[in-house]
Amino acid sequence: MNEGRGYLICLIGLPPGGSAEWTASLAAAKGKKDAAALRAAGRALSLLGRGDEALAAFEKSLALDAVSHEGWAWRGEAHLLAGRGEEARRDLDKAVSLSKDWPWARLLRAVCLLTGGDTDAAQQELASLKVPEAVIVAALLEGQRGEAAKGADAATVELAKRPSGPLFAVRALLRLGLGDLPGCLADLNEAAALEPSAWILMQRADALNRSGFYREALKDSDAAAKILPESPEPHLQAANIYFDQAFYPEALEAMEQAHARRPDDASMLSRRARFHLLLGRFEESEAGLDRACALAPDSAQLRFERLNVIALRGRYAEVLKELKKGALQPPFDSYLTGYVLCRKGDRAGAVKHFLLAAERADGGFAERCRFYALVCRVLSKPEKKPASRPQFYLCGVGIHHPYQITVEILRALDACEVLYNNLGDPQVSEFLGLFRAEVRAVTRVDNEPAMGRVKRILAGLQRGKTSGFVTRIHPFIYRRIANDLVTQCDAKKISYQAFGAVSLTEVAWSLAAIEPEHGTERGPFASRVFDLVHLIKNPGQLEASQPTIVYAIANDEDRRTFSALVKSSYAPDRSVFFLAGSGDREQQVVSAKVKDIEEKLLSLDLGTVMYLPPRQ
């Protein structure tokens, strides 16, 4: 869901009963041809997620009454909901010029400005608005400025006066920005109790999924889908949750549900094609993109995605021919040429194309092109061939994947014919596509023991063909699947080789040590690393003079016991550091004083890793 849409639905709140109110409004306008009725139909259609029909109704309405400030404002709102900021801004400017005293056009314009990142102009717009909803936008504004705490405080004051679902939901978003996941969930529970709108339920689903409660998250997505039966959004959310959890067949089923609600939507087809691609279902991916390209023939992005799939299917000459004909503009033409050459094995040849693409690109795409050029450079240098290769490679790709991959893993992947992965990350799938191997995603099956996945992987191994398994972070640190894989390999006498990777231990340590609160004490060249539960049972093993890393995968009671142990071993004003969210997000540490450790630790997710600097 784009930000503009998020903010807007926050304002509108999609009232209790959700679609019922807008469906009734639509029914009331049915058959009427006057401007007001068409306007009402347009807004109802827009809020029911039927954007194209809404715009058609607004066109007719404005043709009959071109000076209706409401007509321009609600069409602007429809554009905002669809993520078309420029069109929205034009319509909202027009609405404000037609009625300077009507607050809604100005409120929507503030949202529009905020969505575009112009926080100063948004604040100016909000300054003179007296409607209570302005507080919601103002709180969001603070969050966007990096002042989430200020926004949450403002929302708290307003909540004491006028508690409402949307406002609780806004404070939840701000608390999420502050890393306070339990506070965020508590607010969303309040919000859902007051106004169980689809948007609030979907926000809660997101927070629950982040907290590891994906089953509860799916229940909320399902409830949102019932409120908005015609909207693809809740189904898309469910698809993403299933995908995150590696329940791929279920993810695809949810994606089909979303697709069924927008069968001729090129972007939906493209999203489904990306799912197919991640699952190695290239034929379906290509067919979907063929259709998407036919629906949106001017889309360079779709042409790129289609040619990328064709490259992955090994039809290199076809891709190069299309590129020669000018199917893609720079930098994507050079990028795809490099990608094809790399897959074909011409690594030295691919380097210059990736570098050319990097020169012409910016941001993350430029970074990726440069990384791929480096990958090709490393692989193009001769390697001392090993006497024999194992049947199976077990690889971790660090936290900042795939960039933290090591040289030896790169070479191992290059020797594989089949590559399994449980990352579910499009960027990793694209990266694995650089190699000649067939890429397979490892699916989870509900209620299947963890060993089930492992048995399925090993059943697919073929004698004489080297396969690899790629997982996130370090394969041997809190990775049951890796443990099960080596256990089964040993039992079945399958030869294997495992590689190390950058883990949360090293990342927490290196990030914390450079923080100003850390101070200059470094301690001896030593470290201790613990599982929290083990440490509270063996408190004598905590040696405060040494740098200490603790994996905090534990319940609240154990976290409290651990906090007491730290308080008894370190000075209350010493800083400790938390690396929260061990997933794939950009890593950063947050600090807290020892005296506040319990409150902080209880607010962070299960994947939190702590760094305790050595005591002076």
Binding site: I405, T406, F476, A498, W509, P524, A526
Partner: protein
């Protein structure tokens, strides 16, 4: 571009060097590295615009004022590099902006090579790691209750011998450990192992650790 970037190359160079590190170093105007290993150093030079052997931390800090300086050390910077520590603390003092990139530490390296695990109900629940000189400086720093990873980029056999003989006294007689050397790996009684430069040892605890049990 960063003023100063401090990077670890992993325990086995280039095998354990990450491409993130390699890319960052390739972008630097000049890279300082005290890596002794000739093969690893030659490999690194192939990716750096200018690779230099540093005479001191001060030399690196002086150059860092101009920006675009990288420091590449063995292992991960926090585990064993006195040079990285001096440069980091010097940068803090001088107000030079710097970053440290994550790298494979001796613990991370030895876990993979020994197929040992941390966490869950199947792995170690705690582990300790020491630079060999640290153990010599303070024999009580290590405990026999946790697995011990002992390492050194540069340590003469005599230094290792002294450290291992001291440690062997604290473990049951004949306690074995696994040595991971550039030439290969061996398992033998602690005092009979002969490590040298760029070696890592994994010494199991004197008594097996109890598996994790927790209520959810």
């Amino acid at each position: 571009m960063d003023k100063l970037l401090i990077c670890g190359l992993g325990v086995r160079v280039p095998e354990e060097t990450t491409l993130e590190t390699l890319q960052a170093l390739a972008d630097c105007r000049v890279v300082y590295s005290d890596l002794d290993d000739k093969k690893g150093r030659a490999w690194l030079a192939g990716y750096c615009k200018d690779l230099k052997m540093p005479a001191s931390a001060g030399m690196i800090l002086k150059d860092a004022a101009k920006g675009g300086v990288g420091l590449a050390v063995w292992g991960n910077p926090q585990s064993s590099s006195r040079l990285a520590r001096d440069v980091e603390l010097g940068a803090q003092k001088a107000g030079v902006a710097y970053r440290v990139l994550g790298a494979i530490s001796p613990i991370g390296s030895v876990f993979a090579r020994s197929v040992s695990f941390l966490g869950g109900d199947y792995g170690y629940q705690g582990i300790q790691s020491f630079d060999v000189q640290t153990v010599l400086d303070d024999a009580k720093a290590a405990t026999v209750d946790l697995p011990l990873v002992l390492y050194a980029e540069r340590a003469k056999p005599a230094l290792w011998k002294k450290a291992l003989e001291a440690l062997a006294k604290t473990y049951p007689a004949g306690h074995t450990a696994r040595l991971y050397a550039p030439e290969g790996e061996t398992e033998a009684a602690l005092a009979s192992l002969k490590p040298g430069d760029r070696c890592v040892l994994l010494i199991p605890p004197a008594k097996p650790l109890t598996p994790r049990r927790t209520k959810w």
